[in-house]
């Protein structure tokens, strides 16, 4: 299975190259791979439907993450859809994109997407699944933004990415929690942990996170809005990603995790409510769309809602219905999208109001649309019929709130019937219109649509095949053996059949009266727009403004404010530490310790403090420099008094040189001006005063503790015999800790380079070769 | 206290006294030049006395040499530093005390070229002291 995924990725990289050299055949060539995978899957079907096929690869980026693939009924169903529809779409795209610039990139992205999607449904490790999940989001983003020079496309792509990406992150958190609670990320092992998971305190958070991920990916309310927006992508993309495959990822995930997490009332409530709201909202909003693709997109939203409802319901019948509908939907929706694309290609418009009587001009497309539409409407002999039967059956046997549920499902299904009529009767029937630049579609454009349409019929006519396929999938979802009994035509009149008939009748009625619906559909649309979508839009637009304001507050360009932040943080942390963790007490016997102060030392202290005051009050540059000199000299005298002649010497020398530099560099600067208002001065004084007090306190505390420095003793003893020097400080500097000194002179060297460059290399000044040497 | 010690003490005290006088001078004298006249020299002399005391006290060639070398260095450098400051002060227009009886340097500097001419003396009017 890895081979299949990898092959698709590799081909994805090769696709632009192929496109450059064989622009005509590239679609067909690209389609060969998914077709091959499809065939290979069919070959594996027996194993998959039985015990399942498992592949383990020795690739583990993190502990607990593994590249495990499992082909069981559910993944087989999904993989068949992915590869089958994928082959058709690529074949279709070959014609659809022909002659367009950078078509190669489209194949590449489609193939990469297919690989990711295959990986998603085949992976048996949650994290591996997540990897592919996100890859589908990224490829989807790039595909939605295909017409990247148009603002609309960019906005839609961003919307899709942020919504699904955000959901993805929530999902990741959910997965991590599952892994933490269940002790494994292997999906196959998680079912056994169902009890642990469902009893855990984080069960509800996990569900909510899962909900965020799945609902956003599968365009459930309130995240549904990105999907209609995504219709700005080329039609093959819409047909493949945004109807047949990627949007099913959320549904797939729910199905996949249903054994481990499903079956609780929280699960049912959460997903059924979401699903039903989405079903109705999407379905009824689809009724007012004039753009074919947008209509189909809303309808897809609705279908996804239906699937989520069924998975939320979670009964055996419901899972069977879900499996059947999953299959049927992929076929009819894929076909309808491709028809829409073909019409768009041929007539240059997707506006339902401008399309009529196309049957004559596009007979094959009409056939494909007809088959798909009938399946969608749920008429007998077609795959959609069986699915609908099972849906109603599941509702009727749901065991609580039956009538409400049935009624809501009916209301949803009616909308599908209307859409089916729009896609068939409305555009193909009647007198044909003339189009300015009509050109007949190339073969792939109708053939690729006809195949799934016909497959819908075939599956309707071959109930055993359908039952086996869907049954295996349902078993994986339900977590227990499931057998589906299907039939071509119902043998007797059942409540479900009556409901189906009612659905169709209501659908036809509604189609005729659709104009009357407009006002309150508009109202619904308005609400949906102002609600989640509006909120999203406001967020995306407002965030940068908010960010700019917050940032301007901190990053205000004033160095002193930054210093204030730092000093403030330091004091705050110290204060908190002392308040909450117990601070050091005030050192005792201060007066005793102070009493050893000698007169000349006192004077020295006074001199330093006076110099300091003078530095702070200085109003001319020279006063400032000279006062700094006083402090420096005072420091040097401290060194003299306390046995550090080397230090004193160095301090004096540095002081002198410092003064020279100060004078040299600064004498052109203006005098020292006072700019801060009194309040600022007061605030700064208090704050820095506190800082000083803290330091003083620290010194007093530490010097009050006993200190035995092993270094002092050792150095004093080793200096002469081992270091051959009497001046211990110097021996430390050039021998014991010579690397410090090496670093120190390196610092000096670099400073020299920097200063030299600062002074000599200036913008706008020409650098003459050989003239700028120091 | 031996004779050496007594001499040392005397030198020390004299030196300290001169230095103190220099400090008093810098506080008391009315203009820059008088302050310098009063301080640079007495301080220099004071240091010299104290260094002599050191040489005497330690009675060691190396230490004595250091003390004498310090004196030498001070004598070499102090007048030059004083000269530099005084000149800079004059050039920057530091005003003379009103009791100054004559300023034969006035008008002799060519501020463009930095040349100083040698000419006949002229009398300077006393000025007040502006702050920097």
């Amino acid at each position: 299975m890895l081979n299949a995924v990898l092959a698709a990725f590799v081909l994805a990289f090769a696709a632009p190259l192929v496109a450059r050299h064989m622009p005509r055949q590239v679609g067909t060539i690209a389609a060969l791979l998914p077709a091959g995978i499809f065939v290979w899957l069919l070959n594996q079907a027996e194993m998959a439907l039985g015990p399942g096929v498992v592949e383990r690869w020795p690739w583990s980026p993190l502990p607990g993450v593994a590249l495990t693939f499992r082909l069981d009924g559910l993944s087989l169903l999904m993989a068949l859809i992915i590869s089958g529809v994928g082959a058709l779409i690529l074949f279709y795209a070959g014609a659809y994109m022909h002659g367009q610039a950078q078509a190669g990139r489209l194949y590449a992205l489609l193939l990469a997407f297919m690989a990711s999607m295959l990986g998603l449904v085949l992976a048996d490790n949650l994290i591996a699944l997540f990897v592919f999940w996100e890859l589908t989001s990224i490829t989807s983003f790039l595909l939605i933004g295909w017409h990247f020079q148009e603002e609309r496309s960019r906005a839609a792509a961003l919307q899709a990415l942020i919504v699904t990406g955000g959901g993805g992150l929530a999902l990741l958190a959910g997965f991590v929690l599952i892994g933490l609670v269940g002790g494994t990320w292997e999906i196959a092992e998680l079912s056994a942990q169902a009890g642990t998971l469902q009893d855990s305190v984080v069960y509800l958070p996990i569900l909510l996170l899962l909900w965020l991920g799945a609902a956003s990916k599968s365009a459930q309310f309130p995240f549904h809005f990105w999907l209609p927006g995504a219709m700005v992508a080329p039609t093959p993309v819409s047909a493949y990603l945004h109807s047949a495959t990627m949007v099913k990822a959320g549904v797939y995930l729910l199905a996949r995790l249903s054994p481990a997490l499903g079956g609780t009332s929280e699960w049912s409530l959460l997903f059924m409510v979401t699903g039903l709201v989405t079903l109705l909202l999407g379905g009824w909003l689809s009724l007012k769309q004039n753009d074919m693709k947008r209509m189909l997109a809303y309808s897809t939203v609705s279908s996804l809602g239906l699937l989520v409802t069924l998975l939320g319901l979670g009964t055996k019948l419901a899972t069977e219905a879900a499996a059947l509908y999953l299959l049927a939907h992929a076929l009819f929706k894929g076909a309808l999208f491709m028809v829409a694309g073909a019409i768009d290609h041929a007539t240059g418009t997707r506006d339902l109001r401008r399309l009529r009587g196309l049957a004559g001009a596009l007979p094959t497309s009409a056939l494909a649309a007809g088959l798909a539409g009938l399946s969608m409407a749920g008429l007998p002999l077609l795959a959609g019929f069986a699915a609908k039967e099972f849906i109603y059956e599941a509702a009727l046997f749901s065991g609580g709130g039956v009538w409400i549920l049935t009624l809501l499902l009916l209301a949803g299904n009616v909308a599908f019937v209307v859409v089916a009529q729009q896609m068939t009767l409305r555009i193909f029937a009647g007198a044909s219109l003339s189009f300015e630049s009509f050109h007949a579609p190339a073969i792939p454009l109708w053939l690729a649509a006809l195949v799934p349409g016909a497959l819908g019929l075939a599956l309707g006519l071959l109930p055993d095949v359908t039952a086996t396929l869907a049954g295996a999938a349902a078993r994986a979802i339900y977590g227990a053996p499931v057998t589906i009994h299907l039939f071509v035509l119902p043998g007797s009149v059942t409540p479900m059949l009556l409901l189906s008939a009612l659905t169709i009748a209501a659908g036809i009625l509604l189609y005729r009266r659709r104009v009357q619906l407009e006002p309150w559909l508009n109202w619904l649309d308005q609400g949906a727009r102002l609600g989640p979508e509006g909120a999203f839009q406001r967020l995306v637009e407002g965030l940068p403004h908010f960010a700019a304001r917050v940032t301007a507050l901190q990053q205000n360009g004033r160095l002193r404010s930054y210093v204030l932040w730092i000093v403030g943080t330091w004091l705050l942390l110290l204060g908190l530490t002392w308040a909450l963790r117990g601070g050091p007490g005030l050192p005792a016997n201060l007066l005793v310790r102070l009493s050893d102060l000698r007169f000349h030392e006192l004077i020295l202290v006074l001199v330093i403090l006076a110099g300091l005051a003078s530095v702070m009050l200085a109003n001319t540059l020279m006063t400032l420099i000279v006062s700094l000199g006083v402090v420096g000299i005072g420091t040097a005298i401290v060194f003299i008094l306390f046995g550090a002649p080397d230090l004193a010497m160095t301090q004096f020398s540095i002081e002198t040189l410092g003064v020279i530099l100060f004078v040299l560099v600064l004498y052109r600067l203006p005098g020292v001006v006072r700019l801060s208002p009194r309040r600022t001065v007061l605030r700064d004084s208090i704050l820095t005063g506190l800082a000083g007090a803290v330091i003083t306190l620290m010194i007093l505390i530490i010097t009050d503790l006993p200190l035995v420095s092993p270094l002092k003793t050792w150095f004093a003893g080793a200096s002469e015999p081992l270091g051959h020097g009497h001046n211990v400080v110097n021996v430390i500097l050039v021998d014991f800790r010579a690397i410090d000194t090496l670093g120190e002179i390196t610092v000096l060297g670099i400073a020299a380079i920097g200063i030299f460059a600062l002074l000599k290399l200036r913008p706008g000044r020409k650098v003459a070769e050989g003239k700028d040497g120091p | 206290m031996t004779l050496i010690e007594g001499l040392t003490a005397l030198l020390l005290l004299t030196g300290a006294f001169f230095m103190l006088m220099g400090a008093v001078g810098i506080v008391r004298m009315p203009d820059l030049f008088m302050r310098m006249s009063a301080t640079t020299k007495s301080a220099t002399l004071g240091v010299s006395f104290m260094m002599l005391a050191v040489a005497l006290h330690f009675n060691d060639l190396a230490i004595g040499a250091r003390a004498l070398a310090t004196i030498l260095f001070v004598f070499l450098t102090a007048p030059i530093a004083a000269h530099m400051i005084a000149r800079a002060g004059y050039l920057r227009g530091v005003s003379l005390w009103q009791g100054t009886i004559s300023d034969e340097l006035q008008g002799r500097y060519d501020m463009e070229t930095g040349e100083l001419e040698s000419g006949t003396p002229a009398m300077a009017p006393p000025q007040g002291e502006p702050e920097d």
């Binding site: - | 006088m21 008093v24 060639l61 007048p79 030059i80 004083a82 009886i101 040698s118």
Partner: protein, 157 residues
């Protein structure tokens, strides 16, 4: 000749600083002195240096006495409440021409309390001196010329 003198001087200072006047240290001082002079050669150019040691010593004695005297006078001024000083900036015409001699003179004047060399005219003919106790400008000029300048000239010729 002068070079040699500076060299000897450096060597002796070196040995003294090193703590022992051993031949080895003096020799080392010569080596160091040589190195230093090598480095300093460009800086110094060819210069004339003090050649007559006895005169120097005599002069030094005279100077120290003068120094102490003048210091006491200034001290008195500093300590008494009123200013008795009569300061002036006096242009002292120079007879000595040698740069080193002029510098020596100027420095000695500065070292003497109460007087301060301000500058030498660009043509090196006049030394401008600030003095604290000038009753008569002309008398002061003569005092300098007959006192210090004369002795410096003696030493330098």
């Amino acid at each position: 000749m002068n070079w040699l003198l500076v060299h000897v001087l450096l060597a002796l200072v070196w040995a003294a600083l090193s703590g022992e006047l051993t031949p080895i240290n003096v020799a080392g001082g010569f080596v160091v002195g040589f190195l230093v002079l090598l480095l300093a050669r460009r800086a110094m150019g060819s210069q004339r240096y003090v050649t007559r040691v006895p005169r120097v010593l005599r002069f030094a004695l005279y100077f120290v006495v003068m120094l102490v005297q003048a210091n006491l006078r200034v001290t008195l001024e500093v300590l008494t409440p009123n200013y008795k000083a009569r300061p002036a900036i006096v242009a002292v015409p120079l007879d000595i021409r040698d740069e080193v001699a002029i510098t020596t003179l100027a420095n000695l004047i500065t070292l003497t309390p109460g007087t301060l060399s301000l500058d030498v005219s660009s043509d090196r003919r006049v030394l401008y001196v600030h003095a604290m106790f000038v009753t008569d400008v002309e008398a002061f000029r003569l005092e300098i010329k007959d006192g210090l300048e004369q002795r410096v000239q003696d030493v330098f010729t």
